[in-house]
Every structure is written in structure tokens, then in C-alpha cells.
């Protein structure tokens, strides 16, 4: 298989689309990495479901304050201009359309924008958190993900087979191979790795990739 972007590079690419002053929620885990790659001169303000706007990076080890954590229960810090609020206000921000961007992970994204990222099926203990609220609240819902599963199956699919997080909610997917928009129920390819042919990319994608103008090279620095 062709060389692909690292997780850090996918996060870097997603970070380039976050404008200065944007209010941003990053999903638990991999998406949290996006915060590391804010372009020079831009300042995003990060929201966490548990009631903080404008938090900063992780504290030094042993400097954690366990009343100051993010939605992933990891310790964070505050910065000048931070605000605390309760959970209903926090999700008023989410559901009310006040966040500019939410960036989430995915098990599957369908060509109509359906997202499956909370459950791999009926086994085990189900847990949903704030994902279902985020996908119907933020002005822009983007996904960052490997282009295929660990066993090589497409994560960009014609229709999700796993339990849905939300219906027709995702508008852009940043993968290890490409940047794909979802427009009118179709995948529209915006960027791909230069070394990858369109046919190769299509063969790794579970639904047709449409073109709408030129496809740019997906380039990322070493990060």
C-alpha cells in the first residue's frame, strides 16, 4: 500500500482549516491532537463538553488538577479568558450551533454524511458521551480518520453498517490519503496524496469519489 499520512499529519491538515478566533470542539483521543497544529498567528478557542471554554495544554506531570480536565478526563490548564459553565450551558453551545467546528473520529462515514463513531455493535458496554450532540450542533462537522480500517476495509462507505451517531451531519473528511467533502449526498474529492492514483484511491473507498474541479495534492510537513 502507498505511503500514507501519519495521525499527526492528518491532524495537522485538519488544523489548517480552522480560522483565527474559531470555537472548536475536538473529540476524545486522536482528534485532540489537532490542537497541537494551530497555524502561526491563529488562535482557536477550545470547548470541552464538561464546561470549559478556552482551556490550554496539558499541565506538566504531577501538576494536574483533577477539577480541571477535558471531556477525555485528561488534565488541562486554563489560559487568560477561560470561562467555566455547567453542562446544560455547555451543550447549549453545542446544540445551539455556536461552535464553528467539531472534529471527530469515525468508524464509518457514508456518502450522505451519516457518521458511525460510537458503537461497533451490540457487544460490550455501550457508551456515547457527547458525540451525538456535537454532530448536530457545530456549524461544521469534520472527521479525521485513517482512510481504511486496520484490516483494509473502506471507512468511507456507501451506507454505514454500524450504529449511527448522526444522520447527514459530516461535511468534510480528512483521511490518511485524501480530503473529501460531502456535497449533496456524494463524496467529492478535494485533495489526495500525489503518489496515489485516482483509481487506487477509489479502490480503497466504499462509494464513488466525485470530482468538482481540480484535485489538489495533499501535502503535509513532517510533524
Amino acid at each position: 500500500m502507498t505511503a500514507k499520512l501519519t495521525n499527526a499529519q492528518i491532524a495537522w491538515r485538519a488544523a489548517q482549516d480552522i480560522h483565527d478566533g474559531a470555537y472548536v470542539n475536538l473529540g476524545i483521543g486522536f482528534p485532540e491532537m489537532v490542537a497541537r497544529f494551530q497555524p502561526e498567528g491563529r488562535q482557536a478557542i477550545f470547548h470541552t463538553e464538561n464546561g470549559i471554554l478556552g482551556f490550554g495544554e496539558a499541565p506538566a506531570p504531577d501538576q494536574e488538577d483533577w477539577d480541571l480536565i477535558n471531556a477525555g478526563k485528561k488534565a488541562v490548564t486554563i489560559k487568560p479568558g477561560t470561562a467555566f459553565f455547567h453542562h446544560a450551558d455547555s451543550f447549549a453551545m453545542v446544540r445551539g450551533g455556536h461552535l464553528d467546528v467539531a472534529i471527530l473520529g469515525a468508524y464509518q462515514v457514508a456518502q450522505n454524511g451519516d457518521l458511525a463513531n460510537w458503537s461497533t455493535g451490540p457487544k460490550g458496554v455501550p457508551a456515547v458521551g457527547g458525540a451525538m450532540d456535537l454532530v448536530h450542533g457545530a456549524k461544521r462537522v469534520a472527521v479525521i480518520t485513517d482512510h481504511v480500517t486496520k484490516d483494509g476495509k473502506p471507512k468511507l462507505v456507501a451506507a454505514c453498517t454500524l450504529p449511527l451517531t448522526g444522520v447527514a451531519c459530516v461535511t468534510r473528511v480528512y483521511t490518511s490519503l485524501a480530503v473529501v467533502d460531502i456535497v449533496d449526498g456524494r463524496f467529492v474529492l478535494r485533495e489526495k496524496l500525489a503518489a496515489l492514483s485516482l483509481d487506487e484511491l477509489q479502490s480503497l473507498t466504499g462509494a464513488p469519489l466525485h470530482l468538482d474541479g481540480a484535485v489538489a495534492d495533499l501535502t503535509c510537513p513532517e510533524v
Binding site: D20, A92, H98
Partner: protein, 244 residues
């Protein structure tokens, strides 16, 4: 990021004919008099904005603030709970002449509809108003043996609010009962414009004491010593000033 705007005129620019405008305040307490008067100035200079729908608890008092907007003919419709005041003559005359529309909403329902607009809740059920004229035509439903009225969210194109202290990120605090509807309106408007008595740098407001987080505020203008509607009315003020 700095959400400060220089000058009241710039702060209220871009409010268009036919828009819905939420205006903070309960009577004079919390009324953003300077922003309202800047909007009147804009109307007097350009003929816009007019045909506005204004959402406020009341409908103006005397001849300043919202009453002055109504007197100038900028307001087509009021959505409020209590369109009476010490001197309600401006609204009263227009209303009785059929020149201004009124949607009367119970005060708690008004507050909750605005919060719902800000919180992405398109409709909710309330016991308030069930069986009364104000619930006529609204869907009703029974939950656990009690009857409730379905109410819809309220949103606005613009909110004009008054705050006490603001940092440049737009985090706001209020002064005593001047808080009232402002934090809700800030959530429910496409564009929230605040007038702020004191501006501080980020970090100048205790993060525990922020009432309106900056995410709900688009821009603000510093107005160091805001007028109180009650004082203006006791001085029999008119806006714009009547020149003899």
C-alpha cells in the same frame, strides 16, 4: 482576537429592514440605551433599519430607548410579556391605532423560548398558559396526567445587550438585576452586540464568574457611564432631543 468595536455607529451597522432584534433589559434595568439610540441615529440618517420585530420584556417607557424607536416608526411588531410601564403612551397609542403588532407571551415562556432558541431546542412543553387565551391555537399534550402547551423557540438576527465588564474575548458579567434577559438573548441571536461599561484584557474576569461566555458575543463597544432609562424619564428626556 479582539471583539471590541470603536464607536456605537459601527457596532450597530448592518442591521437591516425587517430584522428581528432582541433587546436586553427589564424595564430600564439592563436596557442598552446607547446602542438603541445609535440605531435610531442610523435610521434617522439612512431610513434604515425599519419594519423591525423587537423582542423585549416590555414595550418602552417615556420617550427614550425602545419607546423612542417605536415613536420614530422603526418597529412593526413587539414580542413582549408586559407592554405597560409608568409612561407607556408611545406604544399604547400606536397599538390602539393598529399601527404596531403585539405578540404577548408570558414572561417565563418568553425567557424559555429565547433560551431554547440559543440552545438548539426547537420546541418544548410548559404548563404556563394552559387553558388561557394566550395558548389558543398552540398544540397541547398530556404528560403524567397533566396538560401542557407546546411553545416554539425564539431566535433573532441581532441582540443588543448591556453588560458590566467584558474582556476582549467577549466574556461578560452583568450588574445586579440588569442581567435579566441578556445572557439568553446573547445565545439566541445570529449576531450579538453588547455595550460594556468596563473593558478588561483576557484574564481580567474570574473564569468562575463569567456569566456570558465569549462564544455568544460577536462584538462589543465600550460605553463607560451608561444612561439609566429611569433617570432619563425622570428628567423627561426625549430621543432625539426635541429642539425648540
Amino acid at each position: 482576537m479582539d471583539k471590541r468595536i470603536s464607536g456605537l455607529a459601527a457596532a450597530v451597522a448592518g442591521i437591516e429592514d425587517g430584522m428581528t432584534v432582541m433587546i436586553g433589559g427589564f424595564g430600564g434595568s439592563g436596557a442598552p440605551i446607547e446602542l438603541i439610540h445609535a440605531l435610531i441615529d442610523c435610521y434617522l440618517a439612512t431610513g434604515s433599519p425599519r419594519n423591525l420585530t423587537v423582542i423585549n420584556n416590555n414595550a418602552g417607557n417615556g420617550h427614550v430607548g425602545i419607546a423612542a424607536m417605536i415613536e420614530q416608526g422603526m418597529v412593526a411588531k413587539m414580542i413582549c410579556s408586559f407592554p405597560r410601564s409608568a409612561d407607556p403612551r408611545v406604544f399604547t397609542e400606536r397599538y390602539l391605532a393598529g399601527e404596531i403588532e403585539l405578540e404577548l407571551v408570558p414572561q417565563g415562556t418568553l425567557a424559555e423560548r429565547i433560551r431554547a432558541g440559543g440552545a438548539g431546542i426547537p420546541a418544548f412543553y410548559t404548563p404556563t398558559g394552559f387553558g388561557t387565551d394566550l395558548a389558543k391555537g398552540k398544540p397541547v399534550a398530556e404528560f403524567d396526567g397533566r396538560s401542557y402547551v407546546q411553545e416554539r423557540w425564539l431566535k433573532a438576527d441581532v441582540a443588543l445587550i448591556k453588560a458590566e465588564t467584558g474582556d476582549t474575548f467577549g466574556n461578560l458579567t452583568y450588574r445586579m438585576a440588569a442581567r435579566n434577559f441578556a445572557p439568553l438573548m446573547a445565545m439566541a441571536a445570529e449576531r450579538t452586540i453588547a455595550q460594556v461599561s468596563h473593558v478588561v484584557e483576557p484574564g481580567g474576569i474570574d473564569p468562575e464568574a463569567v456569566v456570558t461566555p465569549g462564544i455568544f458575543v460577536d462584538c462589543f463597544v465600550e460605553v463607560p457611564n451608561p444612561a439609566q432609562e429611569e433617570d432619563l424619564n425622570r428628567a423627561n428626556a426625549h430621543y432625539p432631543e426635541v429642539t425648540a
